[in-house]
């Protein structure tokens, strides 16, 4: 590596990005020092092991990444809005669709979902934290350092440019000689380990820490969906870990696993990538199904229709999700037998998914529906996602896929699944659970404006792509000539993308507006909802529940309100809580620097930081930390304050 290649040069947009990065990274410490907030930040946030705060940090990071991925998307749409455009060159376009894909899936959708999981799951099962709070903080900091590492690639060294799927041989050292794909392999590796730890943590939490009486079949549907998601995480992510390690070995240590000669096999990467990749799409979509189930039953004021069939269909989806991966490369040389088998398994997934759609519809039937913002997203999800699903079945037919493969039709399809299936869900969940965390609701009027902008513009952006794809426009194409006739529809799509931008800006503005003007809510249950998280105060105290509730049926909180019977009785006892720790963030930082030096193959500093990582592990092994107790007096004081009563002394 020559030093003049270290920083990416020659691009005005990148210079602007560098300037803004420098400004922001100076502004933050200066502001913190000026307002004397360092201590507050460190003790309340950076070292926290509280699942609610970790969840909030995940969601903040996800919103930041949504912005980054969104800017990428806008640039791509702007470039292709008119024929023969020169806004971006081919190389730059390649880098942008790659970072857009990776960031949206791994650094936006995943952390947003994991963030909601963190905030909601312990509350929903009546627990005081997750099973391994310290590990939870480690998960967050590993995700965060992976995300930051990936993001600096566009100013230092250059971004990966072989697509979010990074197919070999294109992603090999021979065809992608810059460090871009090293960033891909190492940043995803670090974030992936964090996700794997989350998977284990939540699996144990849900299996072991449910409130007394809450059997598996009395769990709220979101908890069920998260349980199944984490099973998939635990079994799918190791495949990614191995595949990325082989990629690093190939690119930096001279092995030939994915080479085209010496017994290597380039297609094996695509195979391993999708063995992880298809379950991954269910990892981001199943929790969304759970969120919709909660919201739809809360605002239809009815219990969820077909609870058992919902669970069974999610289990079926989790198994099927592991046997369909080859549908991503039907056209790459498989025989009829392979393609037929994977066609059939893929179409089979439509069945349990269809069951769920009908269950939601039946839940709505004869319900007293209140059209709140989260409910609007949930209602819009059903028809839009169905379009995504139906085009998915079209793509599932191997012989027809020879027509659709790698066209804009595919791009339209997966955005029609991912955006209603994940983005709408996390936004809906964000609006729904926001008052639980902060004690006031987001403004409904602004929320609805954002909703209409986002939903309408989404269709304007992506529906034209179905037609463009059928007309032959391929994906990842940075420009086209006027004679192709693609211009008009691409321009329509650009207009839609601008509308989406307006929608997201209103959404973010709504957060600011509501912080300032929203009335605070008083009873912890502003939506009059059904599951346990609504039975404690908002904002939730550190210990979640002063007394652990006892559950005797699904929607126990709802019935306790109807029947006027409290869920928990008895006297307060001292509550044991875990201590904060600075080790996870130090570990995250060490991983960041280790990763950075690995990317550039600077072995000595990489080894040094590798030793630091091992050091943090060793420190933890010998650390004596028994947590702390919250005294009865303090619980009483907190509870009183949260109920709005005055202090006595």
């Amino acid at each position: 590596m020559k030093w003049d290649e270290f920083f990416v040069t020659g691009e005005p947009m990148i210079y602007a990005a560098m300037v803004s990065i420098v400004v922001v990274s100076l502004a933050i410490p200066i502001a913190l020092t000026y307002f004397k907030k360092w201590n507050w930040l460190w003790t309340n946030w950076l070292t926290t092991v509280d699942h609610k705060k970790i969840g909030v940090m995940y969601i903040l990071a996800a919103l930041l990444m949504l912005f980054r991925g969104g800017v990428d998307a806008l640039l791509m749409r702007a470039q292709t809005a008119v024929p023969d455009n020169g806004l971006l060159d081919g190389q730059h376009y390649n880098e942008i669709f790659t970072t857009h894909g990776v960031i949206m899936i791994l650094f936006m959708a995943m952390p947003f979902i994991i963030g909601l999981m963190n905030v909601v799951i312990p509350l929903q099962i009546g627990a005081r934290d997750v099973a391994f709070p310290r590990l939870n903080a480690v998960s967050f900091w590993l995700f965060f350092s992976g995300a930051m590492l990936f993001n600096i690639s566009f100013v230092i060294g250059g971004s990966p440019d072989a697509g979010w799927s990074a197919y070999f041989p294109l992603a090999s050292l021979e065809f992608s000689p810059t460090v871009g794909n090293n960033y891909y392999a190492i940043a995803l590796q670090i974030a992936g380990i964090g996700t794997l730890l989350t998977g284990i943590n939540f699996l144990v939490t849900i299996l072991k820490m449910r409130a007394p009486g809450m059997t598996l079949m009395k769990m709220p549907m979101f908890t069920w969906s998260v349980l199944i998601t984490n099973v998939i995480i635990v079994f799918a992510f190791p495949v990614l870990t191995v595949a990325l390690a082989l990629m690093t070995l190939d690119r930096q240590f001279g092995t030939q696993f994915f080479a085209m000669q010496s017994g290597g096999m380039d297609m094996l990467w695509a195979n391993l990538f999708w063995v992880w990749g298809h379950p991954e799409v269910y990892i981001v979509v199943l929790p969304a199904f759970g969120i919709y189930s909660e919201i739809i039953s809360a605002f239809a004021r009815k219990n969820l229709y077909g609870y058992k069939s919902m669970v069974v269909s999610m289990v079926a989806i989790s198994l099927l999700s592991f046997v369909v991966w080859a549908h991503h490369f039907y056209t790459m040389g498989h025989g009829v037998m392979v393609n037929s088998v994977f066609s059939i398994t893929t179409m089979a997934i439509a069945i349990p998914t269809g069951v769920k759609i009908f269950n939601w519809l039946f839940t709505l039937r004869k319900g007293k529906i209140s059209f709140t913002t989260p409910m609007l997203y949930s209602l819009a999800f059903i028809p839009i996602f169905t379009i995504g699903g139906v085009t998915g079945v079209m793509l599932a037919m191997a012989s027809a896929d020879y027509q659709y493969h790698n066209t804009m039709f595919l791009v339209a399809h997966f955005h029609y699944v991912l955006i209603p299936g994940t983005v709408f869900a996390v936004i809906a969940g964000f609006h729904f659970w926001f008052p639980k965390v902060f004690g006031f609701r987001l403004n409904e009027k602004l929320g609805k404006w954002a909703f209409w902008f986002i939903t309408v513009s989404f269709n304007v952006t992506f529906f034209p792509l179905f037609i463009l794809g059928l007309n032959g426009m391929t994906r990842r194409m940075y420009t086209y000539s006027e004679s192709t006739g693609y211009g008009a529809l691409n321009m329509v799509s650009m207009v839609g993308a601008l509308g989406l931008t307006v929608g997201f800006i209103i959404l973010v503005y709504n957060i600011y507006y509501s912080v300032r003007y929203s009335p605070r809510d008083t009873n912890g249950d502003p939506w009059d909802a059904r599951s346990l998280e609504w039975s404690t105060h908002s904002p939730v105290p550190e210990y979640n529940f002063a007394l652990i509730p006892t559950v005797d049926r699904l929607d126990a909180h709802w019935f306790s309100k109807k029947e006027g019977k409290p869920l928990a009785t008895g006297k307060y006892e001292p509550i044991h809580m875990p201590n904060n720790s600075g080790v996870p963030i130090i570990m995250g930082a060490a991983f960041f620097f280790w990763g950075f030096f690995m990317v550039f193959s600077w072995w000595i500093p990489a080894i040094v930081f590798g030793v630091v990582i091992l050091g943090t592990l060793a420190y933890r092994t010998f650390e004596k930390d028994h947590g702390h107790y919250i005294s009865v007096e303090e619980i009483e004081r907190t509870e009183k304050a949260l109920r709005g009563e005055q202090h006595e002394n």
Partner: protein, 96 residues
């Protein structure tokens, strides 16, 4: 004293070392591919069972049903990944 000495575990430990040594036979001697593979597969399976039941206490757990289910799921995913890959990338690849 007899109860304190973990005889079962020491035996198990020695046995697992023995299994590893037997597995070495596959590379140390000039066996046919089939014979070598058989030795490896058999010793690996016995080894895995030993670890799970003796050292990871699968049976002693109150919720062993969950654990068996988990192992079953793991087997499913593992076998599907291996044989699915062979199916997609070897047996059914570049054929008419």
């Amino acid at each position: 004293m007899k109860q304190l000495f973990p005889a079962q575990h020491v035996m198990g430990f020695l046995f697992s070392l023995l299994l590893s040594l037997v597995a070495l036979v596959a590379v140390l001697f000039d066996l046919s591919f089939a014979a070598g593979m058989t030795i490896l597969v058999v010793t690996a399976l016995v080894q895995a069972g030993l670890q799970l039941f003796l050292f990871m206490h699968v049976k002693e757990n109150a919720e062993s049903k969950t654990l068996y289910l988990n192992i079953l799921y793991a087997l499913f995913v593992g076998l599907v990944t291996i044989f699915g890959t062979l199916f997609a990338m070897r047996w059914g690849y570049m054929v008419k």
